[in-house]
Symmetry: C2
Subunit: 429 residues, 2 copies
């Protein structure tokens, strides 16, 4: 390292975890543009929710350090090169995915304030304001908390102990890659930004996948890494769209229509591989049964909760019912994947339908078993819209362990969407 | 990396493997000083011997590259800082271990020419000249051949594949360290220079041992690493002294006395923990039986061939016979060690005698099983004195698989030294 670099590094008051507004998931930017166009004035509240109560974040992470990291994120704005990339790069085969109007707004954006309190060993971290601004807090907030928790553990370790820790993590990932490279026609993307061990580790994982999997690795959800490493940025849409649209709906009839309104707006904006249905927000069976026919014409379905094989069979059956050819359709698995589950699903569905995988936490944060007390194991932290224009949001999911919202509203949604009995799955990450 | 460093690196025609005359074993320098004082004019031939015939070095290593590396070593001379360290550092508790006369000579030294030919897929590499100069070729010659063979394999690998290779090697070593750190009062040194995977890897191993073993790691045989990392330089003497002294002996009576003459010269030069007997050159039982009493007063014995537990029991019995207290004596194990063997010997002898371990090849080159076809596994390469003033040298060892010399001379030595039946051990490294 040269002297100037060393001196420059001395000047940092902190080691920032998130250093770019595009160190976020691609689908956040796609959704942000959709919200900016369709619902720019909606007032929302996002909130951090730690489903892993045993990980007492407020005891592990210093509040001052957390505030410094969050304040640093509020100081970020889009750099010239990042803007050029967003304006000029081809995404999903399309130029100018982001409109000049959206880019002008995004270039001027700073993230809005946050509210932070401690309660019962946990942080209560919330963000309030206009939906297109507040929604961009989700990914950096999660990344910061995951990485600060990691740093608290790593801070106690020796220099070579650290080297060996990363040596073990590299070996572990490489062994997964060696298993996966044997699967013919595999299509796999990195979806691990939000619960990654750290930015540098995610960056290493992406590069290792490029070398180890070649064409079988199709890209990353992380825009900054996609830009720096010149790989595809991958992602479509998420639960926050139907959750907020539903919270804004006036009356049961509008509520029943809300999830389809979301996709109608999306239909106007996107085509091809971006037309991916996320059907599980209020239960997949009812969603598919009541779906309009134009939705059956969409390219694919992302399966993000419930038993994935069951979800895929359900999707194939639905396409058959609607007269669509499943072999032309795409199923994206993105829930709780690891290499064995990927191999199993690939084996079961390859040939019957196009399949791809969005591999998240166990790609970018599988530090299970590498330190005593499993202190670096990933845990289930989310940051969700909890209200929109004063109304609480609700998620039912295909896994009741992932449901959220006030009980009276959950009951109402279950009735409106005709949700019957559901089986529960453990939420690991 | 700054620009100047990058440009500087462009200027290297080769990436030199050995970059310093003190990138060698400490005992080589001690022996060199002894030879410089006692036998400076002896003409010797050293020769490379690859005991692992299946590793066809001349097919793996380009002759031009090998010559470049050897030529580079011939261009080396002692640097000012290296000389200052040798003159000023404390070795085995003693200042000015190296005399001003020796240092003056060493500062002017360049290594003598080499002779290189290919035969039957192997390199015939020999060095001829004055003993104090030629003997210094042994360690760098071995290091160069081991590392060039490694580079031939590594050259085929991808960037992340390489990272994972080293990650696996680091993990493997760290797991050994984690086992060894549980042994109370362990004393362990690095003896792995000659058959190391590479200089940088040995340097990593030493640093990892410092952190992982603390006081249980007592130092390294490698002078350059000892200097750079500020750890003890460790080593005493080797078979080349009795082998050359014996080759110089006129008649059977002088031959029988030669191994003791070596130690008599050493006795005049060194004390304390440097008075370590290496008894196996012509069979340990006969050597101990015929040894003069003043040798029983020495500090310890190094066991470098044969079954190590048998050798240690033999040493303890000998000390008891000679009225010495074994608990005040030191046994150094240095042959074919790995963590399980170390733990076993430590368990068996701790408390009965002082014990330390010189851990070699399986410390600094345990790449077994890490690449296909085991192409990076260590192999048994040595570089030995084969003649002195025109007479062939002989080694019998406690393991007939390590014996060397013309058969007629082997028979004569066996008769003179009264060597009976010996049991053989496989020579792994």
């Amino acid at each position: 390292m040269d002297i100037a670099t060393r001196v420059w590094n001395h000047k940092w008051k902190i080691d920032p975890i998130v250093r770019s507004l595009i160190d976020t998931d691609f689908y956040k930017l796609l959704m942000c543009q959709s919200v900016f166009r369709n619902k720019p004035d909606t007032q929302v509240t996002f909130s951090l929710i730690n489903r892993s109560k045993s990980v007492r974040l407020a005891e592990l992470i210093d509040e001052g350090e957390l505030r410094e990291q969050l304040d640093h994120i509020r100081s970020l704005s889009l750099s010239r090169g990042e803007s050029t990339w967003m304006r000029g790069n081809t995404f999903y085969g399309k130029r100018q995915m982001f409109t000049p109007e959206f880019m002008d707004w995004f270039e001027g954006l700073r993230l809005p304030p946050y509210h932070l309190e401690k309660r019962d060993g946990q942080y209560e971290l919330t963000f309030e304001g206009a939906w297109p601004e507040v929604m961009l807090w989700e990914i950096p907030a999660l990344s910061v908390l995951m990485e600060l928790r990691g740093r608290a553990v790593l801070g106690e370790m020796g220099r070579f102990e650290l080297q060996v820790l990363y040596a073990r993590a590299m070996t572990k990932l490489w062994e997964k890659i060696e298993k996966l490279r044997g699967l013919d026609d595999l299509k796999l993307a990195d979806f691990g930004t939000r619960r990654r061990h750290s930015f540098m580790w995610q960056d290493w994982c992406v590069q290792a996948m490029c070398e180890g999997l070649g064409d079988k690795f199709i890209g990353t959800s992380n825009c900054l890494i996609a830009k720096n490493r010149e790989v595809e940025a991958i992602g479509t849409n998420a639960h926050e769209l139907p959750m907020v649209y539903s919270a804004l709906a006036q009356g049961d009839e509008a509520l029943a229509r809300a999830p389809y309104d979301v996709l109608s707006d999306w239909h106007d904006e996107h085509e091809g591989n971006l037309r991916i249905i996320l059907p599980d927000t209020y239960g997949t069976p009812g969603f598919l049964e009541n779906a309009p026919d134009w939705l059956a014409g969409w390219t694919g379905i992302r399966i993000d909760s419930g038993d994935p094989a069951t979800g895929a069979e359900r999707a194939i059956a639905w396409w058959n019912e609607r007269g669509e050819d499943p072999t032309q359709k795409l199923i994206i698995f993105s829930d709780g994947l690891d290499e064995d589950k990927i191999a199993e699903l690939h084996q079961q569905f390859a040939g019957r339908v196009r399949v791809s995988f969005g591999w998240g936490t166990l790609l970018t944060n599988d530090f299970r078993g590498l330190v005593p007390d499993n202190a670096l194991a990933p845990f289930s932290l989310v940051c969700k819209a909890i209200s929109a224009n004063g109304n609480p949001t609700v998620k039912l999911s295909d896994n009741p362990n992932k449901a959220m919202g006030p009980q009276s509203e959950i009951d109402r949604y279950k009735r409106v969407f005709g949700v019957g009995e559901q089986s529960t799955q453990e939420v690991l990450v």
